[in-house]
Amino acid sequence: MVKTSFIFMVFSIFIFQAFGQKTTQKISFGESFDLKIGYLGEFITHPGLNTEIMAPYKLQIKTKNDRQKWKYLSAGFGIYNHQQNHVGTFLLVSHGSKRIYKNGFMLGSSLGVGYFRYFYNSATFEVGDNGEISRVRLAGKGQIMFDMSLEVGQDFFRKSNVPLGWYIRPRLFFLAPHNTTFLPRVALEAGIMYKIKIN
């Protein structure tokens, strides 16, 4: 069941990214940048923050309905706090695409890979074989992280040249190693985008 859902999601994202073409415009990497800052809720309610900088490298415009399709690379940092459990932090690089319609409505998806490190936010102890107790400082673990996300939002620049937008982004993280295998986590992100450099 889990395996089927996973394959379906990966497949859907790739299909989603493959659609759309027509006029293609190559953009020099670094020509423009978008900055994202958003609330990151692991399991929705474990609060945190995500920041991401996105550098588009390709723009396709579908002439029929003037729909833009951007491809971009991004790098981001996120942090959240699950009370009496752990603080999760991560650094992530992603590849994504987003379609921006004439009215500014935006749809996107991305796949990323990164490093996840969690710290327990309660005291952690080790007990030796002879019963001696020691406290472990900054206890937690590092994991490899894979991230899949979908995105909906509004890009105000498209319609009114205001360099802002908003987005909502359900995310699925896969973290390994976890116990004897790996662990999926879900998160919901919502925030604003700001164009810090416009080509």
């Binding site: 889990v2 399991f43 929705i44 309610t45 474990h46 945190g48 942090i79 706090n81 699950h82 009370q83 009496q84 459990n85 752990h86 603080v87 969690y118 710290f119 327990y120 936010n121 309660s122 005291a123 952690t124 102890f125 080790e126 007990v127 019963g131 107790i133 406290r135 472990v136 206890a139 673990k141 190693p177 976890h178 116990n179 004897t180 295998t181 790996f182 662990l183 999926p184 986590r185 879900v186």
Partner: protein
């Protein structure tokens, strides 16, 4: 300006990271409210401790499975009621619930779980004092774990009493008796006219059960029928489960547990399959029950098909606990998850046992 932003960033990050880090104020007005992790052999296992600690009595709960963790029980009405009498420690065992870490599947064996429990008992004594009166309470797999611990560390543990609830401490005996219980309940239900077709089919399953088969797949398939039988008993109103979740919104979204990762973790690691596959022919506990001599309370459901009450009767005879310090209670019309089927009687028996022996 830039420096100010950096300072705000670093301070915010540090505050988030260390908010809730070790507190020394876990005991307020004789009430324990604590949370910590035990690290052992690659696993980091969370422990929530809550409840009345006026008499320094603590009940360490051993979950079933091993699956699902036990921290979520801190939100159940039954345990919240117990917390008014004693402190209760909820421990998410290795590879269950919110426990984390990185270790080999080879460590999903009883001996490792017993070692984890031994370390936890020592840590509890260190954290709350050597004079802490520890009672173990285990259900299903927790029964196997607690009993194994008491045998392995007999004469050298601080446990004051053991409450075993439908404990699966003897798998060969479960295999030899579960189908008999299923058949007996099927006969009984057919005789009173309840779901006759379903029970007739289940009786056939019981009749065909091959006690010599010890492969896990065969047993798992049989247990699918047992679960079906339990559902029929509930549907026909023979048994009724009545546990409430206190503060369900908080339990689901803002507690130390995360239901989704707990479920995924269980499905992916399957700690119960690994543990039980090593115990199919194991008689370590049944061979050594006589090493247990501490106060012992057996709580069993008369309609428990998964772990029939034969185990309780046998163990009651075998342990060395003096007659005055052991008690066997069979609850009518209750199944495997006993506390939920008879919350009031369960509460009264537990409180009475602990008050007598602490």
């Amino acid at each position: 300006m830039k420096i100010r932003i950096k300072i705000v960033y670093v301070v915010s990050l540090t505050a988030i990271l260390f908010t809730g880090c070790d507190r020394d104020d876990f005991l307020v007005d004789d009430f324990l409210d604590d949370h910590f992790y035990l690290r052992n052999a690659g696993a980091d296992m969370p422990v929530t401790v809550q409840g009345n600690f006026k008499d320094k009595t603590l009940v360490l709960f051993l979950q079933g499975g091993p699956l699902g963790g036990s921290q979520i029980l801190a939100y159940s009405s039954i345990f919240n009621r117990l917390e008014k009498e004693f402190a209760v420690a909820y421990w998410d065992q290795r590879a269950t619930g919110e426990s984390k870490g990185n270790f080999s599947k080879d460590l999903l064996i009883r001996d490792q779980y017993v070692d984890d429990l031994d370390k936890l008992v020592k840590l509890i004594q260190h954290r709350y004092g050597k004079d802490t009166k520890i009672f173990l309470m285990g259900i299903s797999w927790g029964g196997m774990l607690g009993t194994s611990y008491l045998i392995r560390h007999h004469g050298n543990h601080p446990v004051k009493g053991w409450i075993e609830i439908n404990g699966g401490h003897d798998w060969p005996l479960i295999r030899r008796t579960s189908y008999l219980k299923l058949r007996s309940i099927a006969d009984q239900q057919i005789s009173i006219g309840n779901s006759i077709n379903e029970w007739t089919q289940l009786k056939e399953v019981a009749d065909k059960f091959d006690t010599s088969r010890i492969d896990l797949d065969y047993v798992v398939e049989y247990y699918q029928h047992v679960l079906k039988a339990e559902k029929i008993l509930e549907k026909d109103g023979v048994v009724s489960y009545s546990v409430e979740v206190d503060k369900p919104w908080k339990a689901f979204f803002n507690s130390p547990t995360n239901s989704l990762t707990s479920i995924f973790g269980d499905i992916l690691a399957r700690p119960n399959s690994h543990v039980w596959s090593h115990l199919m022919t194991d008689t370590y506990v049944s061979d050594n029950l006589s090493l247990i001599n501490i106060p012992y309370l057996f709580l069993w459901g008369d309609m428990d098909i998964r772990v029939p009450d034969t185990l309780a009767y046998r163990a009651y005879e075998k342990i060395s606990t003096p007659e005055a310090d052991k008690k066997l209670v069979i609850f009518p019309n209750t199944m495997h998850e006993l506390p939920g089927y008879a919350p009031e009687q369960f509460y009264l028996e537990v409180v009475s046992f602990i008050n007598k022996h602490n």
